[in-house]
């Protein structure tokens, strides 16, 4: 049987401001097949799919559905072309039942939930879902919510289904169940597109794989004729030289020793498991991994912001030579102990700085307890603010401009500058160059290098593998909350890190370094 192309993308380009999210992407998906879209974070997978489902509109290029050119400007248009997208973040009303959520916004004549429930049951039986239409969303598990989302698009008659990282929130058993359902839908002649970055899932589920890298279409291969190694190479690309300085570590001492760390997040899911590593002074330790693998939680656990279930975080105080246990101490207690951790959170304006306050006031967030009189000490923070503006070339009308009005790069400089000014012994930075232009990025790299030379133990969470392999002395890779490997930054390759990042849980027990 010759396969019918269900959807074809031709030369799709999408630009957000100065950032090119998708460039000249060509893609074809057939009926009766499962197509995987593979790519690293920020490779433009979700943007591309959002254009098919009507959330964004492409700047250039055409979309063909069943050979006819289609103009999709809203989710409603997408529905009329029988395209349904299951987003990573569910769009459901918590206090509604499954059936109410499924019929929401539809206009199919008389409003009769019982009739809808019957139809939902039919769909469930056809594909093997288990769902009680009367169950309220807020009592459901994540996997049940996902089922509701999938049935929602099937109920609307979708025959092109797009799933954005559907397995990110599922247990292995639930994942297997979902895959069986997807295979049944494929056999039923539906076109399934699944966005993912987990290689083993790609290999076990899909018929073909299309790879995106940094917004560009790399190629499509048939799953049966490819290997993990080939896919990884397509995903990470050839090495690009960045010429970042990297000095030899000097006077290396164990600063932070972390053993068997285990954390559970708010939903009760184990987010970190069996984490054991050492951060050394005078060295930059890189942390690589797919976003949401537990990097944030790890840094927060060290900073005292995340409850630790199990394990130890031992800090070797360079002044007294004593060992301090940081586990389950509040950030304030950690400070009082004389343990200095400077934390640059992922979310610059959310956790690091107060947007409506000016640079001086933001400096005072760290120093307001120091003054001796009952009034605030403003002189020192003001000097520090001027110092940071001069040294880091922060572009701002003045020290009294609200931080919110500065550009992303300048906000980041203020934040990093403040954290460095506390002369830390351990400096943790999560995605400090996200959204920055090249010059600002290099400035941040140099700052981190300076700290390293001063004997600070630097922990750098990054997403660009080229940067990680040129900046860091050692690179620790985490996947699904576990360490999948610790490699030497000087000898490793992008492919090696890429493979470790996408490794599944069972394989990730060999740690060296």
């Amino acid at each position: 049987m010759a396969k019918q192309p269900a959807i074809e993308l031709k030369n799709i380009t999408k630009v957000f401001g100065k950032v090119v999210a998708n460039k000249d992407v060509n893609l074809t998906a057939y009926r009766g097949e499962i197509l995987s879209i593979l790519g690293e974070n920020g490779s433009g997978k979700t943007t591309l799919m959002n254009m098919i489902s009507g959330i964004y509109f492409p700047d250039e290029g055409q979309i063909f559905i069943d050979g006819q050119e289609a103009v999709i400007t809203s989710p409603k248009d997408a529905f009329s072309y029988k395209i349904g997208m299951i987003h990573q973040h569910f769009k459901l009303v918590d206090v509604f039942s499954a059936a109410e959520n499924i019929v929401l916004g539809l206009n199919e004549g008389k409003y009769n939930l019982n009739a809808s429930a019957e139809k939902i049951k039919e769909i469930s039986e056809q594909y093997g879902f288990e769902l009680d239409p009367a169950k309220k969303i807020y009592t459901m598990s994540v996997s049940e919510k996902q089922t509701v989302e999938i049935i929602k698009v099937l109920y609307r008659g979708a025959d092109i289904l797009i799933l954005d990282e559907p397995t990110a929130v599922l247990t292995p058993q639930e994942t297997e169940k979902l895959f069986n359902i997807l295979r049944r839908m494929r056999d039923d002649g539906k076109c399934i597109i699944i966005i993912t970055h987990k290689l083993h899932e790609v290999l076990s589920l899909s018929d073909r794989v299309s790879v995106l890298r940094k917004g560009e279409y790399v190629g499509t291969v048939e799953t049966a004729k490819t290997s993990e190694a080939e896919l990884t190479e397509m995903m990470v690309g050839k090495k690009v030289s960045l010429n970042i300085d990297r000095s030899e570590p000097e006077n290396v001492q164990d600063r932070l020793v972390i053993e068997d760390l285990e954390c559970i997040n708010r939903e009760g899911v184990k987010i970190l498991d069996d984490i054991t590593f050492t951060a050394r002074s005078g060295e930059i330790l890189g942390i690589a991994g797919i976003a949401g693998s537990g990097q944030r939680e790890l840094l927060e656990a060290i900073a005292g912001l995340q409850q630790v279930q199990y394990g130890e975080i031992i800090y070797n105080d360079p002044k007294t030579g004593e060992k301090e246990d940081l586990r389950n101490k509040t950030p304030m207690q950690i400070r009082e102990l004389g343990v200095r951790l400077s934390f640059v959170p992922e979310d610059r304006l959310g956790m690091g700085l107060v947007g409506n306050m000016d640079i001086v006031d933001n400096m005072m967030l760290r120093s307001y307890r120091k003054g001796k009189s009952m009034f605030l000490e403003r002189k020192a923070p003001k000097d520090l603010a001027m110092h940071i503006i001069d040294d880091l070339e922060v572009v701002t009308p003045g020290a009294t401009t609200p931080v919110r009005r500065l550009s992303g790069g300048n906000v980041q400089k203020v934040l990093v500058g403040r954290e460095i000014a506390a002369s830390p012994t351990v400096l943790m930075a999560a995605y400090p160059v996200r959204g920055l232009d090249i010059n600002s990025s290099y400035l941040i790299y140099n700052l981190l290098n300076e700290q390293k030379k001063k004997g600070v133990a630097v922990i750098f969470v990054g997403e660009d593998l080229d940067v990680l392999t040129e900046l860091c002395d050692r690179i620790m890779v985490i996947g699904s909350g576990r360490i999948t490997g610790i490699v030497d930054g000087r000898t490793t390759t992008k492919e090696e890190i890429g493979l470790l990042m996408t490794k599944s849980k069972q394989q990730g027990d060999d740690c060296n370094g």
Binding site: I55, L92, V93, L104
Partner: protein, 329 residues
């Protein structure tokens, strides 16, 4: 005596029922309209102005007045006045994303000020000795009882002796309850108040729903003001006599757990609590004042109980009070 107490409680409760039914409709779209006291006040004075003009045009002779027009004109005026207030509120909070609490409080201040201004102007025109205007003729049409009310003893007193706006209030509450829970429009409206981003993604026009819900809610609340003047106060308007009924209506929304059907009984209970001090012998003035806070005490008790039970269906709409920006989806 008991019958009289109950009838009095119902009469006192009806303005609250209008106010809280209107507020429930608005809150279901995710908008906490604290302008309800002002909107009810404007509804009342608009009706007063309408009937004042109509009575004057008929030469103050009841024989010249058509019962239909005497009722319809104040009714329409109250609805239009209150809806305009609702429009101001929705324009500020939906289109301009202004803070809902600030906007609502400002509307209350505006509404009461506007009502007092118009009321004082009318008093000035009539050159009345008392600081009030009496529209007793119009009121007599509003307060007309159902036939047989006097002939059926306690049954007639309890069920048939009320003014038509009382029955209307109960009908509206039941209709609103039905629409919210049993129709597609109600489902869509509730989804807008719970999670506007989801509603938007499902193709529901969020802005339209918010506007329409706020305006309809305001119109319903405005009728409460009218009922107060025409039925409770026998057509006598005096400035600030409306009191804190608007706030009580908002308290009733919480008491009724955002369910209009519960609000019906709740409004009668609130009416009874407000009035209990007049039926208990030997209370001093200071104790009477204490009695007036009973409805609020009951509301706080309900809040404590529902907070402890943590049942999701008993919570306010999830995005209540939050502005919705489409770009942030």
């Amino acid at each position: 005596m008991i019958i009289q107490f109950i009838c009095r409680a119902i009469l006192l409760g009806v303005p609250l029922l209008y106010g809280s039914t209107g507020e429930i409709v608005t809150e279901k779209s995710g908008h906490l309209n604290l302008g309800i006291p002002g909107i009810m006040y404007v509804g009342a004075i608009s009706g007063v102005v309408g009937s004042f003009l109509y009575e004057n045009s008929c030469g103050n002779d009841i024989a010249n007045m058509s019962p239909l027009l005497a009722v319809l004109i104040p009714l329409l005026c109250a609805i239009v006045g209150a809806t305009l207030m609702g429009l101001i509120y929705s324009f500020l909070t939906v289109t301009l994303h202004a803070n809902q609490n600030v906007t609502g409080l400002a509307l209350t201040t505006l509404g009461i000020g506007l009502g007092n201004f118009l009321g004082a102007s009318l008093i000035n025109i009539t050159k009345s000795e008392l600081p009030s205007i009496a529209l007793t003729k119009t009121s007599s049409f509003f307060a007309a009882k159902l036939p047989f009310a006097d002939k059926l003893g306690w049954f007639g007193d309890l069920f048939l002796s009320h003014d038509f706006l009382t029955y209307f209030a109960i009908i509206i509450a039941i209709v609103v309850s039905f629409v919210l829970n049993r129709t597609r429009v109600g489902l869509n409206l509730r989804s807008v108040g719970e999670n506007p981003a989801t509603a938007d993604a499902a193709g529901i026009n969020v802005t339209k729903y918010k506007y329409v819900a706020t305006c309809i809610g305001s119109a319903i609340a405005g009728l409460g003001g009218l009922q107060y003047v025409m039925a409770y106060a026998n057509g006598v308007w005096s400035n600030n006599a409306f009191g804190d009924r608007g706030w009580m209506a908002i308290a009733l929304v919480i008491f009724a757990l955002w369910k209009p059907s519960v609000a019906i009984l709740g409004s009668f209970l609130f009416g009874a609590l407000c009035n209990a001090n007049n039926y208990i012998q030997g209370l001093g003035t200071e104790t009477q004042e204490l009695f007036k806070m009973l409805p609020y005490v009951v509301t706080i008790v309900v809040l404590i109980i529902t907070s402890m039970r943590k049942k999701r269906e008993h919570q306010p709409p999830q995005s209540l009070g939050l502005a919705y920006f489409r770009e942030e989806r």
